[in-house]
Symmetry: C2
Subunit: 434 residues, 2 copies
């Protein structure tokens, strides 16, 4: 195994050479073999050990054991004790999730503060097989069948190509000591059933199972990379992407027989879960929406618009003449007739004496109307929006500037003629978007 | 199950309604339940039953049983007896492959001759789970994990969303009779192990396993469709496709970090298997090749050329003056000076009296030389090819027309000046590519 490990490091993980490595070590067989291998190959390693205080004396025994091994080898040893149960209760987490959070928070802290280049963990091929089968049993997609990644960013798993048998054999041959790992993983029952009942049968049916599985993983990872390519290429053709929102052109999207696959790929990162609702949305009426925790997807005519959820509180902000107006993106200044312009949507000029301060800055409401500048008569805002082909999101993002509850300005869009400058105006003010 | 089956047919297989359907029926529980369901729903069905003569009386008992059921229901019954073992021996096939060939040959014959629209088989969800696990155990790629297809062309599998338990339950409730199927599939051992030892554990770990699995299959099929999209899109960018060959532009291909995935997708249909050799080929010397049964992939400078294998037999075909020249794409005609042109690569004009018939039409050989028209001196063919930047395939596809073993024409490329028309020529012949 040592030779194979060395070749594997040279060929697939050459960047580890000469780097400062932190090993996550529980004291179980996998991590103790990893310590032994890297120590033997004279890598620059330190050890980080978590004591989660979940198994009393046993936890402390693990800590003592890892510590003494490190002393024997003169390896720098870091240990931290966690009040895992208390943390889990406090944050309403399962013990498993709590332990993971605590562990990785601390590891990241060590990486940063002590200047380590990589964190190494001792996951091996059978962990990957188990993860594959757990996901498969529960139901998954391609992303759940591509195994544990060999590397994500600073975390590297150099034992991933080795089986549990490889590791057990090496530990026997080299008299490596380790402590039985009575892990508290919540999927322990599932994992043990698969480990002891299912995987042995697969290995019996195909004695070369581990190699086949490695090849399967590689094939699936290749396919996954092609899925990513297709997703990206089609995205650029079908989606208009701006800072605040993404607009998916439905008539283009629906030309793809597998458009659902694309929607899934694009929307997955925004943590949507109601996939059936999303697939129905493409043929739903304008105005229908589907929500994730932070985002929403809105059907608007020939488009699906993805945007952050708006909190539709109908708040009114006061707008004063002569003080800084907090939370309102408007600037008010006195000016004279020579400054007067009409061609800028970002500002209006109003007859100051027709206004009653403080003005109000608020979202529009059903029933609002105004007297559009340049027109005779009055018009409902809803009618105006329709004529101007505003989308639902456009409408919701529309603010009004009002005086005594009369619309002075559909902000950034259209002024009201009742407050506009005329020949009798004595005092002009300019109101502009900051 | 009847209700669910009816809904499934209406929703997912509406095209079966009113069509002429042929059912493949062994007499086992799955196919007997399918007969019962479709008969009950008044579909227009006939039954095709194969007797492979592999289990003596038992096979004949199956045939009798299916026949009598069809008689009871007034369903048209087709049966064929096969000498499976003899066929297998004759064609050097396993019994399993032989039975499959015989079966589908006959089914296709029936479809065509009797005007059936579809062939229906009784594969169900557990067959799909087993196929998934068999492929997974042996090692596979995405294509091996997408389950048995619900339809390929004329073959439809309407029970694929039902589990073995669904089918067993329905057969009990409706007193459906069936014969124990002692199939002779060569993967029987594998399949039974998975069926009895592995799948029950997966179902115990997740009571909703069957539904999860259906969803997993759908997800993987979606991913597969995106892989196909990426493959097609990138192919059009990187591959120059003509009738005889495909040229993969390596400098463009190698810009993709996952270029191996694309090579795999593109070359798989040509039955290549030596993938490692193929991946090495991209950085190999010009002239290196990898073969499949019918094709070869040739590294030629910045290109991988895919073409049919050429049988490099160095044959010489005689070319006569006045008879039809079989197997040779040349036409010879007498002509006068007014027809004489130089600007057509597809023909030459030669001084007939300098030629010795029959001419020879053959592939070039190392050591061949000629006296290029329009040049002084002679030139080796190999030098000429190099100067003209011929690829290996271009060279191999080059034919020579010779007279008394002297090159008259590098066919379609360049004439030899020794046989060319000059002021003393009395008889001109035109030799052209047909």
């Amino acid at each position: 195994m040592l030779q194979k490990f060395q070749n594997h490091l040279n060929k697939n993980l050459p960047f580890l050479k000469g780097k400062k490595l932190l090993l996550a070590v529980s004291g179980g067989i996998d991590s103790m073999v990893l310590v032994e291998l890297l120590h033997h190959l004279k890598f620059d390693i330190s050890v980080a050990h978590c004591n989660f205080n979940l198994r009393g004396d046993e936890s402390d025994g693990d800590t003592e054991f890892v510590k003494s091994t490190c002393e024997k080898y003169s390896i720098k040893f870091y240990v931290k004790h966690f009040e895992t149960k208390e943390y889990a209760n406090l944050h309403k987490l399962s013990i498993q999730v709590a332990a993971r959070q605590l562990r990785y928070d601390w590891f990241n802290e060590l990486l940063e503060k002590k200047g380590f280049d990589y964190l190494l963990t001792a996951h091996h091929l059978d962990d990957s097989v188990e993860t594959f089968l757990i996901n498969f049993t529960r139901g998954t997609g391609l992303e759940g069948l591509t195994g544990i990644p060999q590397q994500n960013e600073k975390i590297v798993r150099p034992l991933l190509i080795f089986t549990r048998e490889d590791i057990e054999e090496y530990s026997k041959e080299n008299n490596i000591e380790w402590r039985e790992d009575s892990s508290n993983a919540s999927d322990k029952y599932l994992r043990n059933k698969l480990r002891h009942k299912v995987i042995p049968i697969l290995k019996e049916l195909n004695p070369g199972f581990s190699d086949s599985f490695l090849q399967t993983l590689e094939n699936l990872q290749q396919s996954e990379s092609m899925v990513d390519d297709a997703s990206r290429i089609v995205y650029h053709e079908v989606v208009q992407d701006s800072d605040n929102e993404k607009r998916i052109n439905l008539s283009e999207l629906m030309m793809l027989p597998n458009y659902q696959a694309y929607l899934y790929q694009w929307l997955k990162p925004f943590r949507f879960t109601a996939w059936k609702d999303i697939y129905d949305l493409v043929s739903a009426q304008s105005g229908r929406q589907v929500f994730s925790e932070e985002y929403r997807l809105l059907k608007d005519r020939d488009t699906l618009i993805l945007a952050k959820k708006n909190e539709l509180k109908l708040e009114v902000y006061p707008v004063y003449e002569d003080v800084e107006n907090l939370n309102v993106p408007l600037k008010i200044s006195v000016c004279n007739k020579s400054d007067f312009r009409l061609d800028d949507k970002r500002c209006i000029f109003a007859d100051k004496d027709t206004l009653k301060f403080p003005l109000e800055f608020r979202k529009w409401e059903e029933g609002d109307y105004f007297y559009p500048f340049g027109m005779t008569g009055k018009k409902k805002l809803s009618k105006y929006f329709k004529d101007e082909k505003f989308s639902l999101i456009d409408k919701e993002n529309t603010w009004l500037l009002c005086s005594d509850n009369e619309v002075v300005w559909v902000v950034g869009k259209r002024a009201d003629r009742r407050f506009s400058v005329n020949e009798t105006t004595r005092n002009i003010i300019k109101i502009e978007l900051k």
